[in-house]
């Protein structure tokens, strides 16, 4: 038992030279050389597969065969018809969704930690269930419910609610649907954040010092959750900006739907917008990992980023 690596964090699978017998060393040397080849091959192929579409997209947007290089596709975006409207609509929806989902989830999760542990599985299941229902199935359910409005409820005050929710200028129904879609990711992010702090002790300490409940929540709990809140907000923002299915099938035109609409006439511009949206996502994620506690940025990026993909609308 000559070589036992002292800590688990030290170079995983990194062979460690130690006093040992010759055959073992030869075996290790062989093992060292072989991985280099396959590692290079795997990473090279992966790099090719993942970089080529990005490069090709950029080339596609700036270079037209026979006409040379021009940046029209990018400069034209701002002036394109519907771009500003759809982007503003998406940003507005995102802001409303973030506000709603945090207002719903934060008190519920804090309460579950503080005084209602028996509710915990209920809240967890409620937050995780939307993962089971694909967005397209959710939207079929929503259209069914919305059809009840004109069919059954036209004499009741509920009808007005149904109409208000479907307002063309700001479709609240999308905010509600996006909030449902965002819940699992917001739950995970906040749950991880709350797990890292001892809520009952913090609250006890603050209350013993004479803090009011509002003070405890706003000045003690929320600042400790800053990273988790930022993560949840970013994930929700990314989700809403990229969402296509629900908005398209309900007949609204936020950003993702606009790109598809414009692609028919201006293929180059739609690709240009796609490239920009990738860059923006990248910037947001980098920001998020920087905002993370810094001690293990790679891990926090990984967990946070893995979350939305499991059901993000594609």
């Amino acid at each position: 038992m000559a070589a036992m690596t002292p800590t688990a964090q030290a170079a995983p699978a990194g062979p460690r030279p130690a006093p040992e017998k010759a055959p073992v060393r030869r075996q290790r040397l062989r093992q060292r050389r072989r991985p280099r080849v396959w590692r290079g091959l795997v990473l090279g192929l992966a790099g090719l597969y993942f970089l080529v579409p990005l490069l090709a997209s950029v080339v596609f947007t700036v270079h037209t065969p026979g006409r040379g290089v021009s940046f029209e596709a990018y400069t034209g975006i701002l002036g394109a018809e519907g771009f500003t409207d759809s982007l503003l609509l998406s940003l507005g929806l995102a802001a409303a969704t973030i506000a709603l989902v945090l207002l719903l989830a934060v008190p519920a999760l804090v309460a579950v930690r503080l005084g209602a542990p028996r509710l915990r599985p209920v809240v967890e299941v409620m937050c995780m269930l939307p993962l089971v229902v694909p967005p397209i199935a959710l939207v079929t359910g929503i259209t069914t419910v919305l059809r009840w409005g004109p069919e059954h409820l036209s004499r009741t005050p509920l009808y007005q609610t149904f109409m208000a929710v479907q307002d063309e200028n700001f479709p609240l129904v999308l905010v509600l649907a996006y909030t449902v879609l965002a819940l699992p990711f917001v739950y995970r992010s906040l749950d991880a954040g709350l797990r890292a702090i001892d809520v009952p002790t913090l609250v006890e300490a603050a209350r013993n010092c004479g803090a009011s409940w509002a003070y405890v929540i706003l000045r003690v709990i929320l600042p400790n959750l800053r990273t988790a809140l930022a993560g949840a907000a970013f994930l929700t923002l990314a989700l809403v900006l990229g969402e296509f299915t629900i908005a398209a099938l309900l007949g609204y035109q936020p950003f993702a739907v606009w790109i598809v609409t414009v692609s028919g006439a201006q293929a180059r511009m739609s690709v240009a917008v796609s490239v920009l949206s990738l860059l923006i996502t990248w910037a947001l994620l980098l920001l998020l990992s920087r905002a993370g506690n810094g001690t293990r940025p790679a891990k926090s990026t990984a967990t946070v980023a893995a979350a939305p993909s499991s059901s993000k609308d594609r």
């Binding site: 579409p53 359910g141 980023a305 499991s310």
Partner: protein, 298 residues
């Protein structure tokens, strides 16, 4: 939040229990009501619509298995099978590729490579939907850059097909697998390998007897997650192929937007129900596995 102050309820040991005050749960109520209304109601409506229909004779609503039966025949069944095939194929390839890439990063000692790959995976795993479809149209579509450069047309390449869709899906599935599997690969302690080597085990024996059994829950969990992701995908396929590849999400969208015969809405509901059942099975496998594999994360 109206909770009895802990300072008044005695020593710390007793406060935990007593603080389960009568009204703390009120703070959780809005969330529960919201999910009940905005998630429960549509799903209930979906279930109800999938199993009921108007009686042609009386016009009244009655229970029927007709929609579910039709959703499992002909082109609808074909679309379900197509979706399952595409998801299974891309999940298998994505899992294998993801594990290989993850292992290459984990065994590499370059930290910059690791953090760059993790960030890239985080971004690419989220680079789904419409933008991804357009990036691939620019790359390998009819007048795409690579199509022209490499003359893919003569090779029989067609982006707007089952194969093309699989290539596109792998673009977000593989990074997803990398993200899921890296913590598990990190959990394979170097000490275990050393212990195995010192006991005279070969590399193959190590993987067969130690590595794979430890990784199995994460591998299966990752595979199932990829399957679910591909299965629920709609935007990419909608922006890319329209209707030329039979996929259940596209069929539902068609039926909902009235591109087919009137009265198909209930079939769309039944198809959605089929999807929920499959996605539910997927999650029923994934969530316990994830909990199990979490053991190796620390």
């Amino acid at each position: 939040m109206p909770v009895p102050s802990p300072s008044r309820t005695g020593p710390a040991g007793g406060t935990r229990r007593r603080r389960r005050g009568p009204r703390t749960w009120i703070a959780a109520l809005p969330l529960l009501v919201f999910t009940g209304l905005c998630f429960g109601l549509p799903v209930a409506a979906l279930l109800y619509g999938a199993v009921t229909g108007a009686d042609p004779a009386t016009g009244s609503t009655r229970l029927t298995g007709e929609h579910l039966r039709r959703s499992l025949q002909g082109p609808y069944l074909g679309s379900l099978i197509g979706s399952v095939q595409l998801s299974a194929l891309t999940a298998v390839i994505g899992s294998v590729a993801g594990v290989l890439i993850a292992q290459a990063i984990v065994t590499s000692r370059r930290t910059w490579l690791r953090s760059a790959t993790l960030t890239a995976s985080g971004v690419l795993a989220n680079f789904g939907g419409v933008p991804l479809a357009f990036a691939f149209i620019a790359t390998a579509g009819i007048s795409g850059v690579v199509t022209r450069l490499a003359d893919l047309d003569s090779l029989g390449w067609n982006l707007y097909s089952f194969t093309g869709l699989a290539v596109v899906y792998l673009y977000f599935l593989t990074p997803l697998m990398v993200l899921v599997i890296i913590p598990a690969l990190d959990g394979l302690r170097p000490q275990w390998r050393e212990a195995a080597q010192n006991s005279g085990a070969t590399g193959r024996q190590f993987w067969r007897l130690v590595g794979l059994p430890v990784l199995a829950p994460s591998l299966l969990g990752g595979f199932v997650l990829l399957f679910g992701s591909a299965f629920a995908a709609h935007a990419t396929a909608a922006a890319l192929v329209g209707g030329s590849v039979p996929l259940v999400t596209l069929k539902i969208a068609d039926a909902l937007s009235g591109n087919v015969l009137v009265g198909q809405e209930n079939v769309a509901l039944a198809l959605s129900l089929d999807m929920i059942v499959i996605a539910g099975l997927v999650m029923a496998v994934y969530l316990p596995l994830q909990r199990r594999s979490a053991r190796w994360l620390r």
